[in-house]
């Protein structure tokens, strides 16, 4: 409601408002930092991830910044190389899961009452499975392919996202502009894409951030349990598992990946929370 300058889309205003908040900037910096580390880290690694450089559990020294792991490999190099897989996998599974959930949610919200009920009850059955149990079930049944982990983790997100999106979309469906579109005979597909979808972007993005943090936790947990990436691959989750035995002697092999995972999760959460706050502010303004 400031001066009428160049018309800006509401979405861009929303992003601008999000990053006006200190926490969002902090979160952005953390996320960018960890992403940089994960993507370009391998190029800065002094050794390759599977090279034996010292005795097992060697302490920190001038050549080994974070010491050696239980096998005698450089923790620092493995740490730099281990981010790609976990962040990549989490991202892919989040996109898959939230995407699928979005489709289900929008479809259910715009469907007839009975279809809606049918879809959502089926959804509720899926919701009854704890995410980790379902992932373990599938992975132990079909083997530990990286692709399978991404798809399964994504699949467990879908019913949860669908609930949120359906609730948001059902509220939008009741508004008059949707009725106006129905009254002039717009096709359902068109109503979903150009009327409904743009009005659920705020909950969608919040949900995306939230699911991203869940994905990281799940993928790390699966790796930790030894069902994810297999040795000798470098992966943060796997590293925690491998080195937990020597935690008291050489803690860096566990602490470094834990710190990275925690920071990334917190960073994403900061952005998500700020975005939600900005969205509430905008929506309130719109209703005045």
């Amino acid at each position: 409601m400031e001066k009428k300058m160049k018309p800006k889309s509401q979405f861009r205003t929303l992003v601008a408002l999000t990053f006006k908040q200190g926490y969002a900037r902090l979160g952005g910096a953390i996320v960018l930092g960890i992403l940089f580390l994960a993507i370009f880290g391998p190029f800065f690694a002094p050794y390759t991830f599977d090279e034996f450089v010292d005795v097992p559990n060697a302490p920190r020294s001038d050549t080994l910044m974070l010491g050696a792991d239980y096998f005698g490999r450089d923790v620092y190099s493995r740490f730099l190389s281990g981010g790609r897989s976990i962040i990549g996998l989490s991202f892919i599974s989040t996109v898959l899961g939230v995407g699928l959930g979005l489709l289900i949610g929008l479809f259910a919200a715009s469907a007839k009452k009975r279809t809606d009920g049918l879809i959502m009850r089926a959804n509720d059955i899926l919701l009854a499975f704890p995410q980790i149990v379902f992932v373990l079930l599938v992975v132990s049944g079909f083997g530990t392919s990286v692709f399978l982990i991404a798809v399964t983790v994504g699949f467990t997100h879908a019913p949860r996202t669908a609930r949120i999106i359906r609730a948001a979309a059902a509220e939008v469906m009741e508004r008059d502009f949707i009725k106006a579109a129905i009254a002039v005979g717009e096709k359902r597909q068109r109503i979903i894409i150009s009327e409904l979808l743009p009005n659920v972007t705020s909950p969608l993005l919040v949900e995306f951030g939230l699911r991203m943090t869940y994905s990281i936790g799940l993928v790390a947990a699966v790796s930790f349990l030894g069902l994810g990436l297999q040795p000798p691959a470098a992966d943060w989750g796997l590293m925690i598992n491998e080195n937990r035995g020597s935690l008291t002697v050489q803690p860096w092999g566990v602490l470094a990946p834990i710190a990275a995972i925690a920071l990334f999760t917190i960073g994403v959460n900061f952005i998500t929370d700020s975005f939600a706050k900005a969205a509430i502010g905008i929506d309130r303004k719109g209703k005045e």
Partner: protein, 587 residues
Amino acid sequence: MSVVKLSNVDIAITRGGIKIVEKISFEIQSGQILGLVGESGSGKTTVSMALLGHTRKGAVIESGSITIDGHEIVGADDKMLRSLRGGTIAYVPQDPGTALNPGLRIGRQILESLEKHQPDVDHEVHMARVREVLTEVALPSDTDFLRRYPHQLSGGQQQRVAIAIAFACRPKVIVCDEPTTGLDVTTQSKVLATIRALCREHGVAALYVSHDLAVVSELADDVAVMYAGRIVESGNRDEIFFNSIHPYTRRLIRALPDIAGRNQILGISGYAPMPWDRPSGCAFAPRCADAQSICSQSVPELTKISASHNVNCHRHKDSTKIVATARIERESISASAQPLLGINNLDGFYGSRQVLFDTNIHIQPGECVALVGESGSGKTTLSRCIGGLHDDYKGEISYFGNTLGKHALERKKEERRDIQYIFQSPYASINPRRPIGSTITRQLELFFGMKGSAADARVKELLDLVSLPHAIITSFPDQLSGGERQRVAIARALAAEPKLLVCDEITSALDVSVQASVIETLKNLQSSTSVAMLFVTHNLALTRSIANRVAVMRKGTIVEYGGLDEVFNSPKAEYTNRLLQHTPTLK
């Protein structure tokens, strides 16, 4: 003696120091009612809350003095304010539905302020007062009623309970913030009579805040008109309504629907500025037809016209009265064999509940039929049936003799194109995430396959038709005012080149001056495109300005249906008579 006295009160936003209201001064004597009139954003609610020593979060009373019954409010501590509020000065809220606590019984809620302000008095004495005050506001006072919860009362009863709470401690001053806005006219007139009687009998000074000039003219002794944070004109009732000087006051009166049908209503172009973009000089100058160069340069000083009459205008000496425009001429449109729209024996339902009973209405091409009714009368349901948005009905709606499908999707594309529905709230009926241009273009694409430059040119034509600037094509709905949004909704409907517009209470969310200009726009459309209209409204006076024929609806049944003059001059139904009597007017 002045019970309320404000002098030079400024209220500003703490951050940035932008003034919400400036130099507010007025007095109210005991037993008198001051009507504070203004449109949205004028600062009238801010002023009324200041009387209670309250400001919105982020705002502060910067300077000036407010005395209530001899107590200075500005700078008073919380303890002092608490002892005044409810006891000496009481507040009647706008919406009793949200102001009353839904979890407490009526008796308890009235008792609360009594116990707070007179802690030493016996319970029996308090209870006697509760019953007395309920009788004063014309409500039952038996124990059964005291034990009811707010949801068990009607809207009018709830508002009277809110008034009873305000009057319980026999205050010296009451502040009413549009207390009748959500009520039907018949209920409204009863509530107003209650307030008036209580103020007279008990010598209570009242500040009555409203955007509705007609209500204020029926109730107030004195009137102050606010515009953009200042009082632009104040005086006694007759001075304001019959000898007003400020161009804004005059235009506001001309924007008022006139039930006697003497004058066509006239809108004011533009809309009231928000505190942060008020112009320098006289704030009304950009909308004023009589503005001169001085008006945009300096803020006019208060000028005394008579002992009670003050005005804030540079041109108060040479401003001539606005010439009364021509009387409304309305030719009646003769019934043809084939009406454009026929509603035949329609029974409407919500599940098992019947809300419409044997409804018959026929609309001729180019004709405007007004459908008038109070809330819950079924008028919106009927218009939704016509628009294809409510399909739970028996009976027939025919379009040029052909039966229409019940749901919009069961109708032919041409039928959907020819009958366009405009919604009540322009805040909800336009997709907030889409630029205005795209909203209108979509309609052209859908019905005429028009795209690209041809569509752009047509969108500009349509915007001209509803008097909107072309620049808003790239704007989003939240950048527009309510009046502008409603014009966008009208433009979208017109893009389909309809034969019939179904207008469901389309001006009820708008300010009086904006309402008048939207009505003007519709009237011009009617003469230039000969589109037929079903104009649904709760405001009987408004139909005078636009309709050829009027249908009055009550509890799902049409009780009166006839030509404009017939209905207004010799109503057949007793209910129409009652509506006519209770509609507030300038007299």
